[in-house]
């Protein structure tokens, strides 16, 4: 109920449109009732063979309702959909504003990996909240009251019977149907989910299954699920078949009950005889108002579940909050210092980072190396103020980093990660995200420096080339070069490279590493990597293992010490004797 109320709040800004649409919807139903009612009236009066003048009003009424019904229906659908689209726009904007501060830290805390898809499915479900839930209920409510009162004028009992019949048909039967088929409905949902998981797994694992002669048993398993699903669906069919039947029966029985009570009224003169057929028609026609409620109930419960899940997002607090009185950023040059920083994820028991201290002075190049899971990326997330660290201090030019606006701090960095996200837009639009309003010359210069200018000039559409969904139409190397160009456009004092070559083949990796070195020669660079390639160029190499700094120094220092770094390098050399048989020249 609370969720429904919250959802209704979204309709407030356009309540005028909502009211209009509900009135039009009611008017449509009323026209249908009016058409059959006046038709019955016309025929019954005509049967008494009065003068034509008596029938004139009825004839006009029949014609009017015959035409108005279609027109009302048309206007009603237009306004209802318009309201629906406004609701959709508001929901999406609201959702974006809710999620924006939470991303990415809080969204990853959810154990079900595909939070985003769940959210979008929920939004899709809510798209029909107005047209399929609110509008039918409102129109049905108005019709029930209106027709109850109208027929009740002849005799209160008649009005009560009609209202009762409508309520039973619109609310009780759908509720009963829900309870009867709840079990089977749930079974269908779970079986579909299991079948979907099984199918995806089978398709993805088709090679293994076929190679290991397991195709037969897997298809057997999927076919069994199919049989079970069909069985559950047959249950649902039995359950839902009687809804239409009982609604039809209820409609006619209500009409008969009204007639049964009305016939003596004709005999005792309190009801005109010609009203009897009219009453019968009015009752039959009224049930049109409640017929959409069965589906409305289904949509309602789905909307409530989806709404509840979405509103849950509101309760989450951002991982990093802005200070109440943020300090102004100091002036360049910038210097970052970490002192004994420790950090752990809320869900995990172990500290991810332990007592990390380092100094990133202007123009300094630091390499952060270590096996995967050593905490390298977590350190980047902390510097970027995407996650809050637990203890220790981070200073920016001697001021506590937490005193600045997180978004202002992020403005000091450009980041190139192993899979840079590209938006399904043009090359120009993707580049301009880094520097809105920059002209093509600036873009071309950045592309030149990133080694992409030649490639772009071969594209028939140049900067207007569509990069495809997630930039999938570009190769890995092109994507990373585009990310370099983006970082160059951002022109920030700090550059964080988070395994920028991890997804590239060896040929491209070598080229990109060179590109990175030349492009960011002037910047302060934190280079996160587990590939020990050309680290001799770095001023400091920090070796992380299980969240702790185990070694630090220059390439030459670390080789001399003969610790973990030297051992890793040795392994690498042993593994790829060709590449490292002679020490790489510096």
């Amino acid at each position: 109920m609370k969720t429904t109320w919250q959802l209704l709040q979204f309709l407030k800004p356009f309540s005028g449109w909502v009211l209009l649409s509900v009135l039009l919807s009611t008017a449509t139903v009323a026209s249908g009732i009016g058409l059959l009612g006046t038709s019955a009236y016309l025929i019954s009066r005509a049967a008494l063979q009065p003068s034509i003048a008596v029938l004139q009003v009825a004839i006009v009424g029949v014609r009017f309702f015959g035409i108005s019904r279609g027109i009302f229906r048309y206007l009603e659908r237009l306004t209802a959909h318009s309201v629906n689209f406004r609701l959709l726009a508001r929901l999406r904007t609201w959702l974006y504003r809710t999620i924006e501060p939470l991303a990415p830290a809080r969204l990853q805390d959810f154990s079900s990996g595909d939070l985003l898809n769940r959210i979008l499915t929920d939004v899709d479900t809510l798209e029909n909240f107005y047209v399929r839930v609110v509008a039918p209920y409102a129109a049905a409510g108005l019709t029930i009251v209106g027709m109850g009162l109208f027929i009740g004028r002849f005799d209160a009992r008649l009005g009560l019977i009609l209202a009762g019949g409508l309520i039973l048909s619109g609310f009780a039967i759908p509720a009963a149907a829900y309870f009867v088929s709840r079990e089977a409905g749930r079974a269908v949902v779970t079986l579909k989910a299991r079948l979907s998981i099984g199918l995806v797994a089978a398709i993805q694992g088709m090679s293994d299954l076929t190679a290991y002669n397991h195709a037969g048993s897997t298809s057997q398993m999927l076919n069994d699920l199919t049989t079970k699903l069909a069985r559950a669906q047959r249950h649902l069919v039995w359950g839902s078949a009687w809804i239409n039947a009982s609604n039809g029966l209820l409609t006619n029985v209500t009409m008969l009950a009204v007639l049964w009570l009305a016939i003596p009224l004709v005999a005792n003169g309190s009801l005109e005889g010609f009203m009897l057929p009219v009453l019968a028609m009015l009752v039959l026609a009224s049930f049109e108002a409640v017929s959409p409620l069965a589906t409305a109930a289904q949509y309602h419960s789905a909307s409530q579940e989806s709404g509840a899940r979405l509103f849950e997002l509101q309760r989450l607090t951002p991982a990093v909050t802005s200070p109440e009185k943020p300090a102004a950023l100091p002036s360049p040059p910038f210097e970052l210092e970490l002192r004994n920083v420790s950090f752990q994820y809320e869900a995990g028991p172990d500290a991810v980072l332990h007592d990390i201290s380092l100094m990133l002075s202007p123009g300094k190049k630091i390499a952060l190396i270590g096996p995967s899971g050593a905490g390298k990326t977590s350190l980047a997330n902390i510097l970027l103020r995407l996650w809050e660290f637990d203890s220790g201090e981070i200073w920016l030019n001697g001021v506590d980093l937490r005193r600045f606006q997180p978004s202002a701090v992020r403005g000091l960095y450009s980041v190139i990660s192993q899979s840079s996200y590209l938006f399904s837009a043009t090359l120009r639009q993707n580049l301009r995200l880094a520097q809105p309003g920059s002209n093509d010359n600036t873009l071309q210069m950045a592309l030149q420096q990133a080694g992409l200018a030649d490639w772009v000039s071969t594209l028939p559409e140049g900067l207007d080339t569509w990069v495809g969904e997630h930039g999938l139409r570009l190769s890995g190397g092109e994507r990373q070069r585009l990310a370099i160009a983006r970082a160059l456009l951002q022109d920030t004092p700090f550059v964080i490279l988070d395994e920028p070559t991890a997804n590239l083949d060896a040929l491209t990796e070598a080229a990109i590493v060179d590109q990175l070195h030349s492009a960011f020669a002037e910047k302060s660079v934190l280079w996160i990597t587990h590939r020990l390639v050309r680290l001799e160029r770095m001023e400091e190499i920090i070796v992380l293992d299980a969240g702790q700094i185990v070694e630090r120094g220059t390439h030459a220092d670390l080789i001399k010490t003969g610790g973990l770094y030297a051992r890793l390098l040795e392994l690498q050399q042993r593994m790829i004797p060709l590449t490292f048989s002679s020490p790489p020249s510096s």
Binding site: I43, Q49, P104, V237, I576
Partner: protein, 580 residues
């Protein structure tokens, strides 16, 4: 009309249910006529005849019986239609599942798994409305109005004539407007999915937007996009809804026309009230099946849309198996000495360019061959051909002189093991996961295989050892461990031929060493085809095939190739740092 041969074919097995649905629908029409007749008789008796309730109370009994019958018939018709749909869906889904496995990995690898699963699941579900609503309604829209006409004509031929003349207007308008509306609806759907895609894209890239300092500005763009969508869609809907307006009008105005016409004839005394009211009750029932057909037209169109995908999949030919398994050929391929690829080309279905073209090489017993080349150069395609996941489009693969086409896949599977980068993990115990290819293996054999794959210690370190359940909610293995699990499967299978796909992902160094060692163990005394991503592997290989755009550009051992100063030597040099 929306008919589809394949769909009708699919319903043939269940024609009895379809016939029952239609029969009950027509029976429902007859009962409606009886109800109208009885009701108008009651009303006439009271209103015209001035009878009391007591005098006509008995007439309520047949009416109640009729109503009960009507409810039962409606229930039966819905149940039959529902069962028809469930039954057809079940049959098609089984066919689809079986066919997917017949198409095999060569087909599924090129497809989006989510989309395929969706076709088999949601795609088939959208056939539900076609069978439970649209198909029976097509028959009913013809038969029920006809039944009502038969009842109305003897009573009042003029009304009958009006009905006959107006009835075709509904389907005619429906078809005329339906075409335009369908195009408009499709456009609207495209708009909506574009908006959804845009929104998803924005949310997925939120981290990037945040890092670029653009995330807050993006909120306005989300609003703008949604508003833009509303405006364009409303323009479309303004036209689309006109169709509903016209249909509604035809029905309502025809009813009004009949009412006024019989009203005026009553006035002149040409007609009795009882007949007139009987006709008035039946007029909406006459148009109802036609209007329902209009409403369900969309269900039909959606069903056909879905059917296209489903039947396209079902009609894709699967991999041919030899009809006559030729016992002699089978006996000959025990531990093949020589496998020859002769001028082999392969083109994926629906692709214009071949994935491999004119490739010839041979695999000798116990030798190791490494495939080297960029993504898309044809390495996986060659592996598929050797695994008999696909057969050459031209040229042939000869196993000791026997063409691969003549070898049944079940026989070939006993010769070859497949070690993928990321093996499929089932939500069962580790032991069962290792024993995938040999379910009857003893726990001793499984442990031996795990030991060979250097996975034994790791498994023992898990809480339940070999009984530990893997997968979602269970224990997780790292990338390197997963591949060793795949190696353990191959060790257990112990076959003479192995196809191996080295991991492209970077493992940490300790894991790489372990992996290398296990791969080396598996390769000794076996014929190995390896998709190589690591240079130490190629160093060891007896034969290296360098692939480029589906062709072999260089072949030979490491020593000769690095001396040749070709593509291979170039690759090594760049990898070595450009300066070496």
């Amino acid at each position: 009309m929306n008919f589809n041969r394949d769909l009708l074919q699919a319903a043939r097995r269940d024609w009895r249910l379809l016939a029952l649905t239609v029969f009950l629908g027509v029976a429902g029409g007859v009962v409606v006529i009886l109800q109208a007749r009885t009701l108008s008789a009651i009303l006439a008796a009271v209103f015209i005849g001035g009878q009391t309730r007591a005098a006509i109370a008995w007439m309520f009994i047949p009416l109640l019986v009729i109503l009960a019958a009507r409810a039962l018939i409606s229930w039966g018709a819905d149940a039959a239609a529902g069962h028809l749909a469930v039954s057809v869906k079940e049959n098609l889904r089984r066919q689809l599942i079986d066919h997917l496995f017949q198409l095999g990995p060569a087909f599924t690898r090129g497809e989006n798994s989510g989309e395929l699963a969706n076709t088999a699941l949601q795609g088939l579900e959208s056939l539900d409305a076609y069978f439970s609503q649209y198909l029976p309604q097509v028959a009913l829209a013809g038969l029920v109005p006809l039944t009502i006409l038969v009842a109305v004509f003897p009573v009042d031929w003029l009304t009958g004539l009006i009905l006959v003349l107006t009835a075709p207007l509904i389907p005619i308008f429906m078809v005329l407007i339906g075409k335009a509306a369908e195009a408009a609806t499709r456009r609207q759907w495209n708009n909506l999915s574009r908006l959804s895609a845009y929104f998803l894209d924005t949310l997925q890239g939120l981290r990037e937007l945040k890092l670029l300092g653009q995330s807050q500005r993006q909120a306005e763009r989300v609003t703008q996009a949604a508003e833009q969508y509303r405006l364009t869609t409303m323009n479309v809907l303004r036209v689309t809804f006109l169709s509903a307006l016209v249909l509604e009008m035809v029905g309502a105005i025809s009813t009004a026309l009949i009412a006024v016409q019989i009203g005026l004839r009553l006035l002149r005394g040409d007609l009795f009230f009882e007949q007139a009211f009987f006709i008035l009750l039946l007029a909406p029932e006459f148009y109802l099946p036609l209007r329902l057909l209009g409403q369900r037209f969309h269900a039909g169109a959606n069903g056909i849309q879905a059917a296209r995908q489903i039947f396209a999949l079902l009609n894709t030919p699967g991999l041919p198996e030899p009809v006559d398994s030729g016992i002699s050929a089978v006996q000959k391929i025990q531990s093949p000495k020589l496998i020859r690829f002769e001028n082999v080309s392969y083109t994926y279905p629906g692709q214009a360019h071949p994935a491999v073209e004119g490739v010839s090489f041979q695999l000798e017993r116990d030798q190791m061959t490494a495939l080297v080349g960029a993504t898309g150069s044809g390495k996986s395609t060659l592996a598929n051909l050797l695994l008999r996941f696909s057969l050459p489009t031209s040229g042939q693969v000869l196993v000791d002189g026997v063409s691969m086409e003549k070898i049944p896949s079940s026989i070939w599977r006993q010769q070859v093991a497949w070690v993928p980068q990321q093996p499929v993990i089932f939500q069962t115990s580790i032991a069962e996961n290792i024993a995938l290819g040999k379910p009857e293996a003893t726990s001793k054999e499984i442990q031996a295989a795990a030991q060979s794959a250097l996975l034994h210690e790791r498994i023992l370190s898990l809480l339940a050892g070999y009984d530990t359940v893997l997968g979602e909610g269970g224990a997780r293995l790292s990338g390197g461990e997963l591949q060793r699990l795949a190696l353990a499967r191959a060790f257990l299978l112990d076959v003479p031929l192995v196809v191996l796909d080295e991991p492209t992902a970077h493992l940490d160094l300790a894991q790489e060493v372990v992996l290398e060692e296990t791969m080396q163990r598996l390769s000794s005394r076996r014929t190995v085809l390896i998709i190589a991503h690591r240079l130490p592997t190629v160093y060891r290989a007896d034969q290296i095939l360098v692939l480029d755009h589906g062709r072999i550009v260089e072949a030979g051992a490491h020593r000769s190739l690095s001396a040749a100063d070709g593509a291979y030597a170039r690759l090594l040099r760049v990898y070595g740092g450009g300066e070496a």
